[in-house]
């Protein structure tokens, strides 16, 4: 055995093993078996069972005898194969088909009841069959349905009646019998199912639990995608098929209808003895007229609902005809159009039905049940027949409805084109700055947030002219012609960085502020500040004033003034309240903020010095105005190049007074500013305010005429351009 002291090489599966017969190697018997080097392979059996008595005996027997011996096999429980009734039970004979048997999976699921009648049932059946004829299969189907309908609780008799379409007596007797027999346990025995809560994880009788998704391998993902697409396509095809079938159904129905109607017509004609068709002709005439309104319907989806549309066309024509005279229906019609143009999700809560159908049109594969087709087809038919370009030249700028807004149809009353008379849109205004002027004007926000004043001429102009005692009231001389922009340009340019001297600028701005932004106290009963808290005028640049000269009647003017009086009083009260702290008060927007003004928001009536002005311009610090003022830079350089530039570019055509909105000065005016409104707004540093002020002081005197404006504007432009790089730093 010393031979085996060396370690044999491991067995190599790829190495050829020569095959010998034992007889050829007599010397091999000496060296014995070398099983040591070859690792012992496990038998693959459960370790416990490997030691079992019978197995060991059988294995050793095989080792010894090389074949099985009768008494060395592993004993197993016996099985008998001597059924006496087998042939009676399994009737009939089967021939072997020539071909291999191939089973179609679907053919296996024959609808047979799972319940099988037992002898107890047979007794009942026999009893029942004395009165009526009932097949065992029928009984089984009944019990099967009852069983399958009752999961935890038995179905009630009423439910059973719905379930089984059977004779009442039969139903009752089977139901009672079933209830008695069942007694809360299933009659169709099934392998115990798992509970989803996991309580049956180790229940011995629970089998065939569902596998969790853990089993899905990565490989399948791609496949899933592909099959999903296939399913989508399939669904689309199916829905198309359904549509076609629906159409056919509809067509056949209308064919039948036509037939009936024709029959009826013929009968009626017969009754009327209308044999040469005269009556028919007279009756048919209006029908032809109707056909005039048959507009071609644009349906994007060529394959869908074509017949539906046609079928509903008649219906739609009627409504369209009505729309021609009755305008308010139009928006509704439009909105379907819009829904076509823009995904309907933008209109949540509106016409949910229409939405779904719309989507169906787009995606094509939405499924419609036949019950839906009524609303369906009408919706499709409602789409305006005209093309987009004709009706909606705005393209992307088309008006879109916003949620929650109530849109009223415009009122048309006679020849009046204007919505409001002139005086309602314009207010008596006085400019307290150097181009002193008083008259009808209105305030609006221009590009870049500039505040513009549009002036209008009116019958009061001459009166106002007299009131205006300021020597330099040259602007009033300008007359306004009809059909021409009546507004005189007044521009107050807000920012520039050219400061002659800081102290002067400060002075300037202080005076400016004082005279510019304070409403005037009532001096003359008739001529007052005409500010109202009315709605801001619509976004219109030009105001056509045909016949505007006589726009204001005496009555209107008086009532207006009374309102103004009230407001003035309020202002005065507030003024007194704020007097102490409002040395350097900031101007306020009375027009806008009147309703929600805070106590500390300030506005002062003009003092006696400026009392000769009939009206005061109001400079707003409204949010829109403040928007124009960009967040201040740390450099303190104002940065409204856009504003100045735009003013330049529009100055020639647009008239307007750029009114100054002084940004909040942290040091001086911060406290008196209506912070509760605007505290989120950025505050501009003092230098910018100074610049603004100086500029305003400089510009205004020359900016009375449109032509004059160019020069300072250019100046401004240059300035703003200078400041532009600063912005970046």
């Amino acid at each position: 055995m010393s031979k085996l002291s060396f370690r044999a090489r491991a067995l190599d599966a790829a190495r050829p093993l020569p095959v010998y017969r034992r007889a050829e190697l007599p010397q091999l018997t000496d060296c014995g078996f070398i099983s040591r080097a070859v690792p012992q392979m496990p038998s693959g059996m459960d370790k416990d069972e490997e030691l079992e008595h019978h197995l060991q005996r059988a294995m050793s027997a095989q080792q010894v005898f090389r074949e099985r011996k009768e008494n060395m096999v592993i004993p197993v429980p016996e099985a008998e194969s001597n059924s006496t009734y087998y042939d009676r039970l399994y009737k009939g004979q089967v021939k072997v088909p020539k071909q291999l048997i191939h089973v179609q999976p679907l053919s296996l699921d024959l609808e047979q009841p799972d319940y099988d009648m037992d002898s107890e049932d047979e007794t009942l059946l026999n009893r029942l069959n004395r009165k009526m004829d009932m097949k065992p299969l029928q009984f089984e189907i009944m019990v099967d349905r009852l069983e399958k309908a009752s999961t935890h609780q038995e179905v009630s008799l009423a439910e059973a009646k719905r379930l089984l379409n059977e004779d009442d007596y039969l139903l009752k007797s089977v139901y009672d019998y079933w209830l008695r027999k069942r007694r809360n346990r299933c009659l169709i025995f099934q392998v115990k199912q798992e509970n989803r809560d996991g309580s049956t994880n180790h229940h011995a009788y629970v089998a065939f639990r569902r596998r969790t998704e853990k089993m899905t391998t990565r490989k399948n993902r791609k496949n899933d995608e592909a099959s999903y697409e296939k399913m989508l396509r399939l669904r689309r095809e199916f829905s198309r098929t359904v549509t076609i079938l629906e159409m056919i159904k509809k067509r056949e129905k209308s064919k039948r209808e036509l037939l009936h109607l024709t029959l009826e017509v013929v009968e009626k004609r017969y009754q009327l003895s209308d044999f040469n068709g005269d009556v028919l002709k007279t009756v048919a005439l209006p029908l032809e007229e109707k056909a005039v309104y048959c507009a071609p319907v644009n349906v994007n989806n060529s394959s869908r609902h074509k017949t539906n549309v046609k079928a509903k066309m008649q219906k739609n024509q009627v409504s369209m005809r009505e729309e021609l005279t009755f305008d308010p229906t139009r928006p509704k019609n439009r909105c379907t159009k819009w829904e076509r143009l823009f995904p309907p999700q933008r209109f949540p809560g509106r016409l949910p039905r229409a939405e779904s159908i719309y989507r169906a049109d787009v995606n094509q594969y939405d499924f419609h049940s036949s019950g839906e087709d009524e609303g369906n087809s009408t919706m499709v038919a409602q789409t305006p027949p005209t093309s987009d370009d004709e009706n909606y030249p705005d393209g992307v700028f088309i008006f879109r409805r916003t949620d929650g807004c109530l849109y009223l149809s415009p009122r048309w009353d006679g020849g009046h084109v204007d919505i409001q008379p002139l005086h309602e849109r314009h207010f008596l205004t006085k400019l307290s700055l150097s181009p002193d002027w008083m008259g009808l004007s209105r305030r609006r926000t221009g590009r870049g947030g500039r505040i513009l004043l549009d002036r209008a001429s009116c019958s009061l102009d001459s009166l106002l002219n007299q009131l205006d005692t300021y020597p330099g009231s040259w602007t009033r001389s300008r007359t306004v012609y009809p059909n021409e922009p009546v507004d005189l340009d007044q521009k107050l340019l807000m920012n520039s960085s050219s400061i002659p001297s800081l102290s002067q600028a400060l002075k300037n701005i202080q005076t400016l502020r004082r005279c510019c932004f304070r409403p005037r106290p009532i001096q003359n009963q008739r001529i007052t500040d005409s500010r109202t808290a009315g709605p801001s005028v619509e976004d219109r640049r030009f105001l056509d004033t045909p016949g505007s000269a006589g726009g204001i009647t005496e009555e209107q003017y008086y009532s207006h003034q009374q309102q103004l009086m009230k407001m003035k009083k309020q202002q005065l009260e507030q003024l007194q309240y704020n007097e102490a702290m409002s040395r350097a008060t900031a101007p306020l927007d009375h027009q806008r903020n009147q309703s929600h003004r805070s106590p500390e928001s300030t506005s002062r009536t003009l003092d006696s010095v400026s009392a000769h002005f009939a009206a005061s311009a109001v400079v707003s610090t409204s949010p829109s105005a403040q928007d124009a003022l960009r967040p201040p830079k740390t450099t303190g350089v104002p940065n409204c190049p856009g504003a100045s530039r735009s003013s330049y570019s529009t100055s020639s055509s647009v008239s307007g007074v750029g009114l100054l909105s002084i940004p909040k000065q942290q040091s001086q005016v911060g406290a008196v500013y209506p912070t509760h409104h605007h505290n989120i707004r950025p505050s501009a540093p003092p230098p910018s305010a100074l610049k603004l002020a100086t500029l305003a002081a400089k510009v205004i005197p020359v900016s009375g005429l449109p032509r004059d404006i160019d020069e300072p504007d250019r100046q401004l432009n240059g300035l703003s351009e200078n400041t532009q790089p600063m912005e970046v730093t």
């Binding site: 067995l11 059996m45 039970l89 399994y90 011995a204």
Partner: protein, 469 residues
């Protein structure tokens, strides 16, 4: 009179194959009373569970009664060899009655620890084999499966004692630690299937309502279970199957094979699994049948295609398994059908171009059948080798594996088992002894049933490219 409770051990009378009386040691698994007579469910230690049975008290040798030892329980529970009886659930089920601590009847010394007793008996009877087996480090049963490649095995052994769900691949369990006493006892007395009456060997989760019946009736063709002959009669008027509900992929003579998809034909697959479980101890029915294919072997007579046996196969096996469960029904056993099933399974693997191995653990009968098949297959090849140009014939293990589709490890283990591998002049050789050659020739002479590959009409599907199986 002492109370015999579950867990007691004592010699119980049983007849062996020679019809002689034996008194093997047995454990009482359950006690019940039927018409005032006590019946005991006994497991014969070191005998397969399939021989467990209900016995009357007159077959018990009360003189040698051993009471369950509390402390002995803990080690045995952990799966030491030979300790399979004792289940953790026993404590729950046990009545509260006090266990007599001082047994007057049995003067026997405390229970010998089972491993040693088993070892002793084994060593005495089968010294050669026994020692050979002992060389393998014996591991707790539950750990062993990990060697077979299950990667998620460890996660199952939840140390906190809360049993988790078993792994989802495969069809067999080796981890019996979660077994409760219910599954360790046969629950069905008798099954009638066609002409045959079968005595189940193991537990099977048929509906619990049906387990009390003396006979459970099965439709021979669709395998539906029915509670009475009348029901079966009624069922047969509606069931028109006369063959397994799948595609026939092989037919030669009266033998046919049908392929059934466990996902497409759930009812049949489940019914097949239920009856198979009656004869397969390690089979698990924990999960659904979806990832399996079932190959049912039938024998034709004018009444139809009668099921003889079947094997199941994972559609995608991560561990080269070409068979999951395999069973020849008891009436057809020991007639060569098992080998035919195995041969068929390897024919399928040959078509697939893969080598395969049966899923582990094998049963005793499975091991014997497979060893026999492997031996015959390999010997057939070795003996058929002809010397070419005077050179000694030689073959590699890989070649054998390729020719037969038997996995390399199985080839090696078979060669070892047959003692063919020898070391000679610095290299391994295969030596064919005369008794092996003779034995093989005799065995092959008896082996009539063979698979004819020409009769197989089978195209393997690439299940990984399909949806879920």
């Amino acid at each position: 009179m002492v109370e015999i409770v579950e867990g007691c051990r004592l010699p119980v009378l049983r007849k062996n194959q020679e019809n002689e009386d034996e008194w093997p040691l047995a454990e009482i698994l359950s006690v019940k009373e039927v018409s005032a007579r006590k019946l005991y469910y006994v497991h014969y230690i070191d005998f397969n569970k399939r021989l467990d049975e209900w016995v009357t008290s007159d077959r018990l040798d009360m003189k040698k009664l051993q009471f369950p030892k509390k402390e002995a329980k803990t080690p045995t529970k952990n799966g030491l060899p030979g300790s399979r009886p004792s289940s953790p659930e026993r404590e729950v089920k046990r009545k509260v009655e006090p266990v007599p601590l001082a047994p007057q009847v049995s003067p026997v010394t405390p229970v010998p620890s089972l491993p040693s007793s088993a070892e002793a008996s084994q060593a005495a009877v089968y010294p050669q084999n026994g020692t050979a087996r002992r060389l393998i480090p014996s591991q707790p049963g539950r750990k062993r499966k990990a060697n077979c490649g299950g990667t998620d095995e460890d996660s199952q052994d939840s140390s906190d004692g809360i049993p988790s769900a078993p792994r989802m691949t495969g069809s067999l369990v080796s981890d019996r630690s979660h077994d409760d006493i219910v599954t360790r006892m046969k629950n069905i007395e008798c099954i009638e299937l066609g002409r045959h009456r079968l005595k189940p060997w193991y537990f099977s989760p048929y509906p619990q309502e049906l387990t009390a019946l003396p006979i459970l009736y099965l439709c021979e063709f669709c395998l539906k279970y029915l509670k009475s002959l009348k029901c079966l009669q009624r069922h047969l008027t509606k069931c028109n199957l006369r063959h397994p509900p799948g595609n026939e992929i092989y037919r030669k003579g009266t033998i046919s094979f049908f392929e059934i998809d466990g996902r497409k034909n759930k009812t049949y697959s489940q019914n097949l699994c239920l009856i198979a479980k009656c004869f397969l101890d390690h089979k698990t029915l924990y999960y659904d049948t979806d990832p399996f294919l079932f190959y049912v072997m039938t024998e034709y007579d004018p009444k139809g295609f009668h099921i003889v046996g079947y094997f199941s196969k994972e559609k995608e096996s991560t561990e080269d398994y070409n068979v999951a469960c395999i069973l020849t029904l008891p009436p057809y056993q020991r007639r060569g059908y098992g080998k035919l099933l195995i041969e068929f399974s390897y024919e399928l693997s040959k078509v697939e171009g893969k080598t395969g191995t049966p899923e582990k653990p094998l049963s005793d009968l499975g091991l014997l059948s497979y060893r026999s098949y492997w031996s015959q297959t390999i010997l057939e090849i070795l003996m058929g080798l002809k010397p070419d140009n005077g050179e000694r014939p030689q073959i590699t293990i890989n070649e054998i594996s390729e020719i037969t589709s038997v996995k390399k490890e199985d080839v090696i283990s078979t060669l070892q088992y047959l003692n063919l591998i020898n070391y000679y002049k610095g290299q391994y050789i295969l030596t064919l002894s005369e008794d092996i050659v003779d034995g093989h020739e005799r065995a092959m002479h008896k082996r009539h049933l063979r698979i004819d590959p020409k009769c197989l009409h089978f195209t393997p599907k690439d299940w990984s490219k399909r949806g879920k199986w």
